[in-house]
């Protein structure tokens, strides 16, 4: 099962390269991502029924947590490939790109999906390799438009992420060293399954050092402040569907790395050390996001800083710990992925219609594009954590776990920051959505493809706010059991 899941996006990418027309490449891309989604869902189902799956000489594996990441990646990549047809179709019919570049886009898109799936199902600290690969492939997607800004963004992204990831490699080596002392020099000494069993005996001093390096390293990739500086550039200069993939799934993959190491390190150092670090980085990310969201002039960067905020919230949830904190954080990964991709799709339509990324030059979306406007409004309410949408549930769970766990100051700060972010975000968004339309804009939606992608995501955002399916609840509880 895992092999098929990994093989599908690669094959799709290769096939996309050999197509001859726009129609062919789009059909193959959508079929490929549908297959990826199907294999992803059946892997999730398989893990849900049978527990851990291990194949390929122990190097690939899937437990509840990996399955969860696979679920997020395959849903977002499917929706994003639907959106791409509308978005890239618009670009090609307005002669912004030609067929050759369109094909290249889909090839890289599916390879990117492959690397992210690989992050989820790697059975060892070789996770590092997969995460570095996501950087490299996505850099080529960020540079897609090859203008000055995108070249600058891609260069910053590659350099900052690679340095970060180098630190993570050092943390990985230290963890391996701690493991080798207990397990001996076998290939197994890097596997999650064997690591977690003996993690209690690791040298706490070495694990503390390792966790700091891992947190800084993967934290760079996840966009935790103060290592987030590449993130707004990369999000705002990449093509919008890629922005959705970066913000919805890539940051979650990096977060996954941190959480995996958190569970190993906590067993050896005790919860105090790791939790405090995560709370500090979480609050820092939230705090740094506040002024940038309030004073933002570019709406794609607005969303990027909102991602920094939400990664901070996930880190806080894990830091608060306990069943509720971790449950909230894990649920938040899913909710954030869905809602943030939805927002990216919305502003992508706006960008195609208005041709500018400046907040001040956009107004009256709800009059020019009623559907997009309405969905952006829903998404905006959801992303800032207002009820009755899904993010409210997870943020509330994290907040209450903070108060219950006695982290009073951190929880009060958390509450304060999200209120300020709510105000700032909504102030900026409402300027765009309401008001009189900018003169010279012809009313009408961009494409049906982009709308249908958004409608799929709205369903997730809405339904999870009211009702949590028991199977989904149990799945998250399984993940919590893996993490703790």
């Amino acid at each position: 099962m895992i092999e098929y899941l990994l093989f599908t996006p690669i094959l799709t990418g290769i096939l996309c390269y050999f197509t001859r027309s726009r129609r062919q490449v789009e059909t193959i891309s959508i079929l490929g991502s549908l297959m990826t989604l199907i294999f992803g869902l059946s892997l999730v189902l398989d893990v849900y029924r049978n527990g851990i799956i291990v194949t390929w000489q122990n190097s690939l594996f899937a437990d509840a947590f990996s399955a969860y990441i696979v679920l997020i990646v395959s849903i977002i990549s499917f929706v994003s490939s639907i959106y791409s047809i509308g978005y890239m179709g618009h670009e090609i019919s307005h002669n912004v790109i030609d067929l050759k570049r369109l094909k290249m886009y889909y090839v890289l898109f599916h390879f990117f999906v492959f690397t992210m799936l690989l992050v989820g199902v790697t059975n060892n600290l070789g996770l590092w390799i997969a995460i570095e690969m996501t950087t490299l492939v996505s850099a080529l997607l960020i540079i897609f438009y090859s203008n000055k800004a995108s070249v600058e963004a891609a260069w910053k992204y590659v350099i900052i992420s690679t340095v970060g990831i180098t630190f993570a490699l050092f943390g990985t080596i230290l963890t391996y060293y701690a493991a080798v002392k207990i397990l001996g020099e076998t290939g197994d000494a890097l596997n999650w399954t064997s690591l977690i069993a003996v993690a209690g005996q690791f040298d706490p001093m070495i694990m503390k050092l390792a966790f700091i390096f891992i947190l800084i390293g993967y934290g760079t990739k996840a966009g935790l402040a103060p290592m987030h500086t590449w993130l707004p550039d990369a999000y705002s200069e990449s093509p919008t569907p890629v922005g959705a993939l970066l913000s919805g799934t890539l940051v979650n993959c990096a977060m996954y790395g941190i959480i995996r190491f958190y569970s190993i390190a906590t067993k050896s150092t005790g919860p105090e050390f790791t939790s405090n670090l995560l709370i500090i980085f979480g609050l820092l990310s939230l705090g740094i996001a506040v002024p940038f969201i309030i004073l933002q002039e570019d709406y794609k960067r607005l969303l990027a800083y909102s991602s920094v905020e939400h990664m901070g919230i996930i880190a806080l949830g894990i830091g608060f710990g306990g069943v509720y904190g971790i449950f909230g954080a894990i649920l938040h990964m899913f909710n954030h992925a869905m809602t943030k991709s939805l927002m990216f799709f919305g502003v992508g339509n706006v960008l195609l219609k208005y041709g500018t990324k400046e907040i001040d030059k956009v107004s009256g979306i709800v009059k020019t594009m009623p559907m997009t406007g309405a969905i952006l409004l829903i998404g905006g309410l959801a992303i800032t954590g207002s009820p009755p949408f899904s993010i409210f549930i997870s943020e509330f769970t994290i907040l209450s776990s903070g108060f219950l766990g006695g982290h009073i100051i951190a929880s009060v700060l958390f509450l304060l920051f999200i209120i300020m972010i709510f105000a700032g975000f909504f102030y900026n968004l409402s300027k765009m959505i309401f008001g009189n339309p900018t003169p010279g804009i012809i009313p009408g939606e961009v494409s049906r493809w982009t709308l249908s992608a958004m409608v799929i995501l709205v369903v997730f955002v809405f339904v999870l706010g009211f009702y949590m399916p028991p199977a989904f609840y149990k799945m998250i509880m399984n993940v919590v059991a893996v993490v703790r």
Binding site: I143, E185, M205
Partner: protein
């Protein structure tokens, strides 16, 4: 954990030479010699791996050593030279921090790394020595990245950091499992390739590879 008894003196010599090669990169103003020194550093690293392989009798480390020579001291330096020739950059390394302060900072970084590693208990005298050299390489690599203007030097900085980690891995644990090591090699190669592509793009769009120009996206 098998301690490396055989060839301990050789190891110390090699590690000291690796540090010397790092300072050669730090003290040089010409791109060519920086790249040449990086090649030498990688060759010395391969020798370290070879020594470890010889004294522990593990054959797979030989593979790593051969790959290191092949890629890090031949292919990557030649690729860097190719980039320089193709885009016809000026041959000097342009600096934010001048050579003599750079060397002093490099020396300070080595001392700091040494004391940092002292504070953790590591198995033997040798791996403590190797580990502090490894941390120095990582920090000097980072320093090179922030103190040089040319995009190529940032690439070289990352490669030096990577070499430092390689040294750390080999001295702490006799190397990671083969599959992981091969994966890391693969990643480094692809990373160099993609950074190369980016440098060509930077050169095409900005008509220079001076990273001073890449400072427009803020806020």
């Amino acid at each position: 954990m098998a301690e490396i008894i055989f060839g301990s003196n050789t190891m110390q010599l090699l590690i000291a030479l690796i540090l010397v090669s790092t300072f050669m990169i730090l003290g040089s103003t010409r791109l060519y010699s920086c790249i040449r020194d990086f090649g030498i550093q990688s060759f010395l690293l391969a020798c370290v791996a070879g020594t470890v392989a010889f004294s522990t009798g593990k054959d797979e480390i030989y593979i790593i050593a051969v790959l290191t020579i092949l890629f890090k001291s031949i292919v990557i330096p030649y690729f860097l030279l190719y980039i320089i020739r193709e885009i016809k950059v000026k041959k000097e390394v342009e600096l934010y921090v001048k050579i003599s302060p750079s060397l002093i900072i490099g020396g300070m970084l080595v001392v700091i790394s040494y004391y940092l590693i002292r504070s953790i208990n590591v198995i033997s005298e040798l791996s403590s020595f190797a580990l502090s050299a490894s941390v120095s390489l990582v920090s000097i690599g980072l320093f090179i990245m922030i103190s040089r203007k040319k995009a190529i030097m940032q690439m070289l900085g990352i490669l030096i950091m990577e070499n430092g980690l390689f040294l750390g891995a080999i001295s702490l644990t006799n190397g990671m499992p083969l599959l992981v090591e091969l994966g890391i090699f693969f990643d480094v190669l692809i990373a160099v390739l993609i950074m190369g592509i980016l440098i060509f793009r930077i050169n095409k769009t900005f008509e220079s590879i001076d990273t001073d120009l890449l400072k427009t996206l803020i806020g």
